[in-house]
Amino acid sequence: MFDLTGKCALVTGASGGIGAGIARALHEAGAKVALSGTRVGPLEELAADLGQGAYVCPANLSDTPSVEALPKAASEAMGGLDILINNAGITRDNLFMRMSDEEWLSVLDVNLTASFRLMRAVLRPMMKARWGRIISISSIVGTTGNPGQGNYAAAKAGLVGMSKSLAYEVASRGITVNCVAPGFIATAMTDKLNDEQKAKILAQIPAGRMGSTDDIAAAVLYLASPEAGYVTGATLHVNGGMAMV
């Protein structure tokens, strides 16, 4: 339905479940994709699986020079950069009273500051092209809060405010800036939960199931498409009705 032929997309955290799903969806729609992440093995497997038009661009988002080199590497590999997906994220959960500065800063660095740096770097080519899509993966937790995730929730809420501010600045240049906020998505992380924990979570989800990586990828694909050109500064909540905001 959505055609991204000729577009070039950089996806961070493409070695994870959601990132890989997003990269796959964009690639299926015709985009070239640069797959970024810290673990090269899964990135290369995904690139081989996708075939033509998929490039591996490893980067460590907690390392500033590595962040700054990434847009250039991706742009050179693909021959352009039209779409940025800020998907990479880490957690360092701890109760607020016990949270160390290091736990706070490392989550803010990777989840928020690296996204800021990547967004700043991709603006120049997008402004010249008068077209661009910047989509950051936030979280339901950024809106609702979550015990033990003060750092993560702050970073995820930060992405929303940052995206809205940038959306104002570049709307007249054909660049849209949006967020997708997943609820509970079935990934390797949620597989570790026991049945009791799963039952508790499911009781809070009107849809009665966890989301899939495809649910998130579809939302990202829509926001990346030419059809979503009038949608900017928005946060698309994909959570099965768990929080209706």
């Binding site: 120049r124 402004m127 010249k128 600045e169 570049v170 007249s172 240049r173």
Partner: protein, 77 residues
């Protein structure tokens, strides 16, 4: 008019969509030529590319008029 001034004028005319005769020595990008703050950033980017120079942010802030731009670039190239 110097070659640099011609090239700067061409960029300004194309980018801001203004008449060439409005781009005078003292014409302010924002007050006279209708540029917004983002336009001024884009103009600086365009100058950098056209002339293969770097215009640092603090210098960019001093470039308010067409004359300022020509003067800065003439000294930088």
């Amino acid at each position: 008019m110097s070659d640099i001034a011609d090239r700067v004028k061409k960029i300004v005319v194309e980018h801001l969509g203004v008449d060439e005769d409005k781009v005078t020595e003292t014409a302010s990008f924002i007050d006279d030529l209708g540029a917004d703050s983002l336009d001024t950033v884009e103009l600086v980017m365009a100058f950098e590319e056209e002339f293969g120079i770097e215009i640092p942010d603090d210098a960019a802030e001093t470039i308010q008029t067409f004359g300022d731009a020509v003067k800065f670039i003439s000294e930088a190239v």
